[in-house]
């Protein structure tokens, strides 16, 4: 029964009015920058500089995108990021699920000790330099492994997955399987994993997005530009202004270069976020589930 809609007092009507108005303002504040990037990326840069572009693109041009797609670095970045994201996420999932399952079992002797040992690293770490030295000692600097192996598991995701297992796989189920002579490995592969599709989806998404978006590890561990992930390429274009210079080198005047460089920046924002923007509406609910499993039941 929804009483609130039957007899709304005058006070409540005022409340609702301001509530809707403020949330609509918030909606616009979030949406407009994204929308502006899209229209700016296909507008004549002179019109952007002049402040003519507000709601619609002006003098539509695709020169920015053409130059972006002709540039090899973006494609190399894309290719590298796809490789790092795929391998990294596969490793993340394998380790997170196995560890979280073991830790979810009440009859796993030592689980408190291991859990405390893992959670402690959330609050204290050796820091940037000692970690860098470890990666260097292992010979991973300037290889793709530096972006994958040091990020093999995230404690928070172990907590989330463990909570899920505890809630969905009752102890009795394992007891029954044990009586039937089912080993732990078989039980995990045949029973637990098929029942855990929702959490696997959440974990894949969390890990994949964090690989896709990360630039810091590439910044500290990689020198070789051919290994750069997409985010490093984007950084050079958007923030260092470097790659953009190579993409507009054929233009004569500095002013013309500036114009197109600006257009390219808007374009790469779109190109760099495109995969996520496309899939986001479909996968949004899994992310929300993940946050809720971690936050509420955890």
């Amino acid at each position: 029964m929804d009483l609130s809609s039957i007899n709304r007092s005058k006070q409540d009507k005022i409340f609702d009015f301001f509530n809707i108005a403020l949330l609509t303002l918030l909606l616009i504040a979030v949406m407009y920058p994204l929308y502006f990037v899209i229209i700016a990326s296909i507008s004549n840069p002179d019109r952007i500089f002049a402040g003519d572009v507000w709601l619609f693109p002006r003098d539509i041009t695709f020169e920015g995108y053409i130059r972006i797609f002709q540039d090899g670095k973006i494609w190399t970045g894309y290719k590298n990021t796809i490789i790092y994201t795929t391998l990294g996420t596969a490793l993340n999932i394998a380790l997170t699920l196995t560890a979280a399952y073991a830790l979810s079992r009440k009859d796993f002797y030592g689980r408190t000790f291991f859990m405390v040992m893992f959670v402690f690293t959330m609050f204290f770490s050796g820091g940037l330099i000692p970690t860098y030295l470890v990666v260097k000692d292992l010979g991973m600097v300037n290889t793709m492994w530096a972006l994958i192996i040091p990020k093999a598991v995230a404690v928070w995701n172990i907590i989330v997955a463990r909570t899920f297992f505890q809630a969905t796989i009752p102890n009795e189920m394992h007891e029954a399987a044990k009586v039937d002579g089912c080993s732990n490995t078989k039980f995990f592969l045949k029973i637990v994993l098929p029942l855990s599709k929702p959490i696997i989806a959440v974990m894949v998404l969390f890990y994949a997005v964090s690989h896709w978006n990360s630039y810091f590890d590439a910044l500290i561990y990689l020198n070789d530009e051919s290994l750069y992930p997409l985010q490093m390429v984007l950084r050079n274009i958007l923030i260092q202004n470097e790659a953009a210079a190579t993409m507009v080198g054929d233009l004569d005047s500095f002013a013309a270069q500036q114009r197109i460089a600006e257009l390219i920046k808007y374009g790469v924002i779109i190109v760099g976020s495109l995969p996520l923007l496309i899939v986001y509406p479909f996968i949004q609910k899994y992310f929300v589930q993940g946050v809720m499993i971690g936050g509420i039941k955890g």
Partner: protein, 329 residues
């Protein structure tokens, strides 16, 4: 407002500490531990790769942090390098930029906390009371989206929007205001940093509160309506008490992370002209440690930062426990 209502929501059982919840050991397992290990040997293999990972990439660096007390040289190794005690720490405390770094780091994170902590709560409370359910869904979908934008792209957007002939300055021009060189002005670094966080994370951070609000028993609201409580009163006396426990946990976590203010965004937003306010401890550690290879000094600065964090976290957790009876551990 009947006093009975708020009392009822206050007397909800306090949840167990979030990080150790559900890992209590039933006493019957204390005996026969050897039998249990033998029975579940496969589970130890399951855990092994993760255990090795934590030992190598988290506990080995913790062992390596002792280079902060030594003059580390890669040729001599960690234990072979000369022990110098607190020399690097003292050098840092006495360096000309110590107070600037401390001030920049603390003021940035305190400002960030003060602004980004309450906003998601307000947004969640408002969304929860929104009468059009489909519109609510739509708003949620849109305001969660920026969370998935990478920090590089986010800062890239800040650069194009706040550049000299970018969107914001064009907007100022309409009102006849002078254009501002946002990215070169040290005073604008903090507003840009915090403002972009607000834009990116407010919606996402509201999810957890929305989930807690969805769990509120609708009978509480119905009873309050019968008693003539207005919407605003119900938000105040039903919704807010319902999300209080989660607010406390998140507050403890964010205060405990106050010195961990993101390196990534600050570094990208740094320009040569705004360094007087944008140089924070993590960016300084990166520059001194990795760009200038002063490993020991940078490790000392990083350790100092981590220690402040740990002390803050422990202290805030203690306060939270005393006030509300619940904390992280």
């Amino acid at each position: 407002m009947k006093p009975g209502l708020s009392k009822e929501s206050n007397s909800m059982p306090t949840p167990a500490p979030i990080l150790t919840r559900g890992i209590e050991k039933p006493p019957k397992y204390r005996k026969n531990w050897w039998k249990l290990i033998k029975q579940n040997w496969e589970l130890y293999l399951f855990l092994l790769p993760t255990l090795v990972y934590f030992l190598i990439f988290h506990y080995w660096p913790m062992y390596g942090v002792q280079i902060a007390f030594r003059n580390f040289s890669p040729a001599l190794g960690i234990s072979g390098s000369e022990w110098v005690g607190l020399e690097h720490f003292i050098r840092f405390f006495e360096s000309y930029n110590f107070w600037t770094l401390m001030y920049n780091t603390l003021s940035l994170s305190v400002l960030q906390l003060l602004i980004t902590f309450p906003l998601p709560i307000v947004v969640a409370l408002m969304l929860n009371q929104l009468i059009f359910k489909r519109y609510k869904k739509f708003v949620q979908t849109i305001i969660y989206a920026p969370h998935f934008i990478s920090v590089v792209v986010l800062v890239g957007m800040v650069y194009v929007f706040f550049s000299n002939n970018g969107l914001i300055n064009n907007f100022l021009m309409i009102f006849g205001l002078d254009s501002i060189n946002f990215l070169a002005d040290a005073n604008w670094f903090k507003p840009l940093y915090v403002g972009s966080s607000v834009w990116q994370e407010t919606g996402w951070a509201a999810i957890i509160y929305l989930a807690a609000l969805a769990a509120v028993n609708p009978e509480l609201h119905e009873a309050a309506i019968v008693d003539g409580a207005s919407k605003f009163q119900r938000v105040l006396h039903i919704d807010i008490p319902a999300i209080l426990p989660i607010m406390i946990i998140l507050l403890v976590l964010s205060v405990g992370n106050i010195m961990n203010i993101g390196f990534e965004k600050a570094y990208l937003l740094q320009t040569p002209l705004n360094q007087s306010s944008s140089e924070i401890i993590p960016t300084y550690v990166y520059k001194v440690g990795l760009q200038q290879a002063q490993y020991s000094f940078a490790a000392a600065v990083g350790l100092f930062n981590a220690m402040i964090n740990l002390i803050l976290l422990w202290y805030v957790n203690r306060i939270a426990k005393r006030i509300s009876g619940q904390g992280l551990w």
